[in-house]
């Protein structure tokens, strides 16, 4: 599966300044794994040491937060858009 990953501003320097990259993977875990393998600079920013999603990082598949789908096991299809965004407050 090839999916488009949209990177937040803070991760772009680690990806050579790109805001959108294409990576392979059938689940969010695989997509993030491919991303880290290709851009070692993002390592440690997305996942905690025990392998779960960092609490200040939100990952979305086509606008839906994966925490409320199947978390890192959420499946992705060819052509899906995965967005990584920092958790932000409102109010």
């Amino acid at each position: 599966m090839s999916v488009e990953v949209r990177l937040p501003t803070v991760l772009r320097p680690a990806a050579g300044g790109q805001s959108v990259v294409s990576v392979e993977g059938a689940t969010i875990a695989e997509v993030l794994g491919s991303l880290q393998a290709r851009f070692p600079g993002v390592e440690g920013q997305l996942l905690t040491e025990d392998g779960s999603l960092h609490r200040f990082v939100n990952v979305y598949v086509n606008d839906d937060d994966v925490r409320y789908l199947d978390k890192l096991d959420t499946k992705v299809e060819d052509g899906d858009v995965v967005s990584i965004l920092p958790a932000v407050a409102g109010g």
Binding site: T9, Y60, P86
Partner: protein, 315 residues
């Protein structure tokens, strides 16, 4: 009763209006709770009053006290109104890129505005306010993101009102913000109707928070964590500015003049309605459209308005 001793007695008991004419699924009703009907103009009047009354009860607030609070606007405005009535001084830490009207309303109520960098969004305002509160222990810091009176105002007010006015509710959708509305209403509804689904909508944080230095600058409100938000919510979805504005415009066809975050909630309701066979979706309209007139959200060229909305905080 039509005679009230104080404007503060008008907070809460907001109307629920049927907007099913806009539902993409004829078997799904959509109802909007118009929080813009509160006297300060937004849903935030509820937590503002609840937090202040709680602080008065506990002795934290005394006559003439000074408060400091981070806000992207509505909480600041609600607090400023309550503080004006009760005689407290309020300093609001406000991101520089909120709509002009939010600033003007704070000035109406005599609140002092302390600007935080727009590029850090609300997260920057929270950080700055926490630093100020630490430097000035004499100031009262209600801290809406961690104050249990915030979700409690919705657990005791908004939630019961929804169930009273619409016992057939199947889905509840609101903007995330501090998470006070979602935690308070969601907890209440699920206690009384465990099958109710709770959905959060949020704006894409993208370009608004270019100033965050790392993902560690992200922020999850303590009330979300303490209210076990991750288990309470059934779904969380991003709604971009274009969808938000298009739905804000569609609402005017039914005579509803609401703020841009209401359009986001409507977009979430439409997505929800399209994904279920039948049901009754209740959404919260956090505020009316008045504070966004300067953005030309209703009448401007849609592309230009969307571009502008990307740089303005409207949640």
């Amino acid at each position: 009763m039509a005679l009230y001793p104080s404007i503060l007695d008008l907070i809460g008991n907001t109307p629920l209006v049927d907007v099913s004419a806009l539902s993409p699924n004829p078997s799904v009703r959509i109802l909007v709770k118009l929080e813009g009907q509160n006297p300060g103009g937004s849903v935030k009047d509820r937590p503002a009053l609840a937090m202040i009354e709680e602080a008065e009860k506990s002795g934290l607030l005394e006559p003439g006290s000074t408060l400091v609070e981070p806000s992207s606007g509505n909480t600041g405005i609600g607090l400023a109104m309550v503080c004006k009535v009760k005689g407290y001084h309020l300093k609001v830490v406000l991101p520089a890129n909120v709509s002009t009207e939010r600033r003007q309303l704070l000035e109406v109520w005599g609140a002092e505005i302390i600007e935080s960098p727009g590029s850090e969004g609300s997260n920057g305002a929270v950080r700055a306010a926490r630093a100020l509160a630490a430097e000035h222990p004499e100031w009262v810091f209600l801290y809406q993101y961690a104050n249990p009176a915030n979700p409690r105002a919705h657990y005791e007010g908004t939630g019961p009102e929804i169930l009273r006015d619409c016992p057939e509710v199947t889905h509840f959708i609101a903007g995330l913000g501090t998470s006070g509305t979602l935690i308070g209403v969601g907890t209440y509804l699920k206690e009384h109707k465990p099958d109710v689904q709770v959905w959060a909508v949020e704006p894409p944080s993208g370009e608004l928070v270019d100033g965050l230095r790392s993902l560690d600058d992200g922020y999850v409100p303590p009330i979300f964590t303490e209210g076990d938000g991750e288990h309470l919510l059934d779904r969380k979805t991003i709604v971009g500015p274009r969808d938000s504005i298009e739905w804000t415009r569609r609402l005017t066809e039914l005579g509803i003049f609401a703020g841009i975050s209401t359009g986001a909630a409507m977009a979430g309701a439409a997505k929800c309605a399209a994904s279920i066979d039948s049901g009754v979706v209740v959404i919260v309209s956090a505020d009316g459209g008045w504070k966004y007139l300067s953005t030309n959200a209703w009448t401007g060229d849609i592309d230009a308005v969307v571009e502008r909305a990307k740089s303005i905080i409207y949640f």
